[in-house]
Symmetry: C2
Subunit: 249 residues, 2 copies
């Protein structure tokens, strides 16, 4: 994560020395761009950590500059404004979420197996994020009353994830794994509630066993919409919540 001191930074506009081949300045420019991208990525990484802890509204160029041991103007050079920084954090969060939760599930066959893979990975990510906080969930509360480009960016990312789940549910209906009258937004509404309930109980109430309760409830919710063919593909259903939660507690 360390940022190399600026004295190491190659000079973009440095004149080529006499006798050097003409590709040198281009190579130097390329190295400089690469370095700039590395610095930007490192700032973004720190910004993501900070906004998971303090919320997107707690993120400022000043706080970030302190955390990175950089000058404010150094951070400004990479993100022209606080708003642009917040939107970049949301995009970075979304890219990681997609890489971790959505992409691996595409390796599973369409239908119940893919849907389960997405839901399990979502819950798994949530269990890791209980320590850091989820930007989608905290951002939704921070920005529900603040119209503007940051809210729009966040809502677009959340909606694109919801659309992916709608499609996965729809495919599971097409494959005959979920009942034909399954309404994808209704099922997603119920499943999303379980994710929100985990976040609330584990992070705010510090209640033990929230992840285990969610695993049980997720299976029960899915089961209500599942055909016998889908049930055979659903995988194991965990023991009941009371037992699981008391083990976890």
């Amino acid at each position: 994560m360390g940022i190399t001191p600026s004295s190491d930074k190659p000079q973009i506009a440095a004149k080529p020395r006499a006798g050097k081949p003409p590709q040198e300045p281009r190579a130097s420019l390329s190295r400089s761009l690469q370095k700039g991208q590395q610095t930007r990525a490192a700032i973004l990484d720190a910004a993501l950590r900070l906004s998971s802890q303090r919320g997107l509204e707690g993120l400022s160029i000043g706080v970030l500059a302190d955390a990175m041991q950089m000058s404010k103007s150094g951070v400004f050079a990479h993100f022209g404004s606080r708003e642009e920084l917040q939107i970049s954090v949301i995009r970075e969060y979304h890219n990681r979420f997609e890489a971790e939760v959505f992409m691996p599930a595409l390796g599973e066959p369409r239908g119940m197996r893919r849907l389960r893979a997405m839901l399990d990975a979502w819950l798994q990510r949530m269990s890791v994020e209980l320590h850091s906080g989820c930007i989608y969930i905290s951002g939704a509360v921070e920005f529900d009353d603040r119209p503007g480009p940051v809210r729009d960016a966040l809502a677009d990312m959340v909606k694109s994830w919801h659309s992916a789940l709608h499609r996965a549910i729809g495919l599971a209906v097409d494959e005959g794994h979920l009942l034909p009258d399954t309404d994808p937004p209704q099922l997603l509404f119920e499943l999303h509630g379980l994710i929100l309930s985990v976040h609330h109980d584990a992070r705010f109430l510090r209640a033990p066993g929230a992840i285990e309760r969610a695993r049980v409830a997720l299976c029960r919710t899915l089961e209500r919409y599942t055909t016998p063919a889908g049930r055979a593909l659903m995988g194991p259903v965990p023991a009941d919540g009371a037992a699981a939660a008391s083990r976890a507690g």
Copy 2:
């Protein structure tokens, strides 16, 4: 809501005029106390509105003084610190929540009818709060990473409401309306998720039909735990989510 100018305020320490009966100063003191309580209630009302919109962390003595057209020291006289003000807001919110959601349900017979009354009133309050925001939900996200007396006060209030629901679920088991192996915290976990999902979808995503989806899901969730005797007392189950949501949209 208007606050009477301070010149109208009765003087607590005013000497009784000669020949006046001795109860006069006491009456004046009582009027003054009453006036102080009215002012405090008016400030609290404004503080509650402000923190519903901006969050508890967006609440400051300065902002509140502006909203009330009072001096900061005038507000300080009623709430010694920002923290005390935040805690008073949480208590006031809790009192109103209890009066609106919990107390009327106690008029229903124990078991399914009382539980349904509590859940319906909760959802009803949520549908009203979609415009203003729910302090329990936004506060949970604001304070999940901020230990201290404000977080503790908020968590205590939320836990006391959860305990009331645990008891109501337990009574419904005792009455034979819910299945004997019902785990109250597991059922509450699932029901609470629906409330959180309404708040998220309606307030943040501005998705139509969230309340209708929650009504459908609430019945389906309860049904899974319900005995035939309980089912007879459960009341009408709304039409399926897709139809209800498209009507609402």
